[in-house]
């Protein structure tokens, strides 16, 4: 009896272990190991050919060189703005999909949001470039309408980068918002309306508190994607983009300074972690609750 019980428990553990194995392998080989290696890299300094000593020099450089931390802060601020703009734009879209569109119309709208993602991000971003460059569609249209005298270069501006980032991130905000708004009982909205609340008051006291986990989840995903985005800021912002991922790329690929690149990578990780924790604190959400909504 006892042996049978312990046998079956052992079998259960074996099955669980086997089921988890691919995920654990993936996590260990592709995420933990490279990061350990990068951490080691970031804490050493090259003193001669094939000669390294442990040091904090890479991190010191970051703080000593204004360009690096300017770009760092700029990336963080722009990402926060992009996340906020995405939320503002996604909330009405999600509301329409979840509450106003009936049946097929809702799924159709959802597909419309999804379709751009069938095309690769590079092609999508190049599409924006065709529209916005000086000899592109939009400047030509502005001239034709008499709004500007000569074609204006719309690329390489901060606003252009934000447009690109919001566009790329929209779906990742809409999905958690739709699911959290769908679970909002319509009678709660009617009850608030019946008790004398107006539209803004219902949004503030009923809809947003209910959707808070979904909003937080969407914001975390969008913020992380934006902060770590390389392609969109580089293509739409050109030399002016000054995105931190570019600095990392430059260190690894152009300068071949892996130690500095690794240190920058860890600083970016610390930044995103710190801002996510701050966001959770400010909105009073717990990470577990939020992640169960995505």
């Amino acid at each position: 009896m006892l042996k049978a019980a312990s046998d079956s428990r052992w079998h259960g553990r074996l099955a669980l272990g086997l089921l988890l194995a691919p995920a654990l392998l993936w996590l260990g080989a592709l995420i933990v190991l490279p990061h350990v290696d990068l951490a080691v890299l970031s804490f050493r300094e090259r003193v001669g050919p094939r000669e390294y000593v442990a040091s904090l020099a890479q991190y010191r450089t970051f703080f000593a060189e204004p360009l690096y931390w300017h770009v760092f802060v700029r990336t963080a601020v722009m990402s926060v703005i992009a996340t906020f703009l995405t939320l503002l734009l996604a909330l009405p879209i999600a509301w329409i999909i979840a509450k106003l569109a009936r049946g097929r119309a809702g799924s159709l709208l959802f597909i419309v949001c999804l379709i751009p993602f069938w095309v690769s991000e590079t092609v999508r971003t190049l599409g924006w470039m065709i529209l916005l460059r000086e000899s592109g569609v939009l400047p030509a249209l502005l001239v034709k309408l008499g709004i500007t005298a000569v074609p204006v270069e719309l690329l390489y501006r901060d606003a252009t980068i934000l447009v690109g980032l919001v566009y790329t991130s929209l779906l990742f905000m809409v999905v958690p918002l739709v699911s959290s708004l769908e679970s909002l009982d319509n009678s709660l909205i009617e009850a608030a309306y019946d008790l004398g609340a107006g539209g803004f008051s219902i949004l503030r006291s009923i809809v947003i508190p209910h959707a808070a986990p979904g909003i937080t989840a969407g914001c975390i995903v969008v913020f992380m994607l934006t902060l770590g985005n390389y392609l969109t800021p580089t293509l739409l912002g050109g030399k002016n983009s000054q995105w931190f991922t570019e600095q990392i790329y430059t260190q690894f690929i152009t300068r071949f300074n892996w130690e500095q690149g690794a240190a920058f990578g860890f600083l970016l990780l610390a930044l995103s972690t710190a801002l996510v924790i701050l966001g959770l604190r400010l909105s009073g959400q717990r990470f577990g609750d939020v992640m169960s909504r995505t």
């Binding site: 009982d185 009678s187 009617e190 009850a191 309306y193 019946d194 008790l195 107006g198 508190p209």
Partner: protein, 372 residues
Amino acid sequence: MSAADLVADAVVKRFADHVAVDSLSFSVERGSFFSILGPSGCGKTTLLRMIAGFIQPDGGDIAIGGRSMRGVAPNRRPVNMVFQQLALFPMMSVGENVAFGLARRGISRVERARRSNAMLERVGLGGAAHKRVDELSGGQRQRVAIARSLVLEPTLLLLDEPLGALDLKLREHMKIELKQLQADFGTTFVYITHDQSEALVLSDHVGVMSHGRFEQLGTPQDLYYRPQTPFVASFVGANNRIVGRTAHTDGAIAEVATADGWVVHALKSGTIDAGDAVEVFVRPEVATLARSAAELPAGQPRHAGEVQSVLFDGANSAVLLQEERTRREFRIALPQTGQFSDLRPQEKVAFSFDPSRAVCFAARAGAAGQDA
């Protein structure tokens, strides 16, 4: 009649392919408990939502407290609603739920707390203000939902089958509580339900609704003892329904024969001529049961039957008979004396009923062929 708090005047609502509310007019007296009783799909919810302002009537007008509500949004109406699923705000405490409407009126925090606590006290939930909604029992939530509306002192409180989600025992209890609350506050209640017992127990007046119209509007006693249509007779309370044709009519009483030859007598309702298809309704408690025909009250037409089954349900016990010749089912309430406690299936019995307490209507279109 005192002032009317709610007046509906020829209210119409059409949806794509049917008329949900068909030019309905009625008024509800101040301080009374008015119920709208009807089967699902009869248009009662549509009517209630028009009173609350969630949908606009296609025609006619609704006046509340003497003021026309045309073009007035739900949040501007002197009306509050208790929702079927209660719709308490789960993101707020009990106290915040009750104070929600007060806050929307710009009343100060201190005053809000005072009024909502006083209201919770009145519904027997003093000290529960800090609890979360999901910590309350079904009956307590019910009271919070009512308190949340009544704290705004509405002219009219609308209740959309609020007892539907409760279990039987709690429902019976909440019925009594609702009636007491209404008497205490003196607010006009408009209550919709498909449960005839709720409507009869609670209301001062009931409108029985079917296909967007009121079949009958009256006191619970009127509906029960003096139904004006076959629908009301069959929907309100238990009734035996016998379908047949009038053989001949003798003053107020009609003699009705079923297709297979059972002859019964009932009071005519409306004009009925000899040979008309009719429906006769006899309440189970109107009929008298006896072991031998001699024991039956003198002067009542006598019928013979055989016991099919005894339906024991305490004070509501009844016996299901089959009429001797036609084998038609007939239900009789058992008296409380215990006289028939030894009744067995297949036993031969006699029964009779006072024809003036049975009622006969001209058959509804399409109903003549059906048997009860």
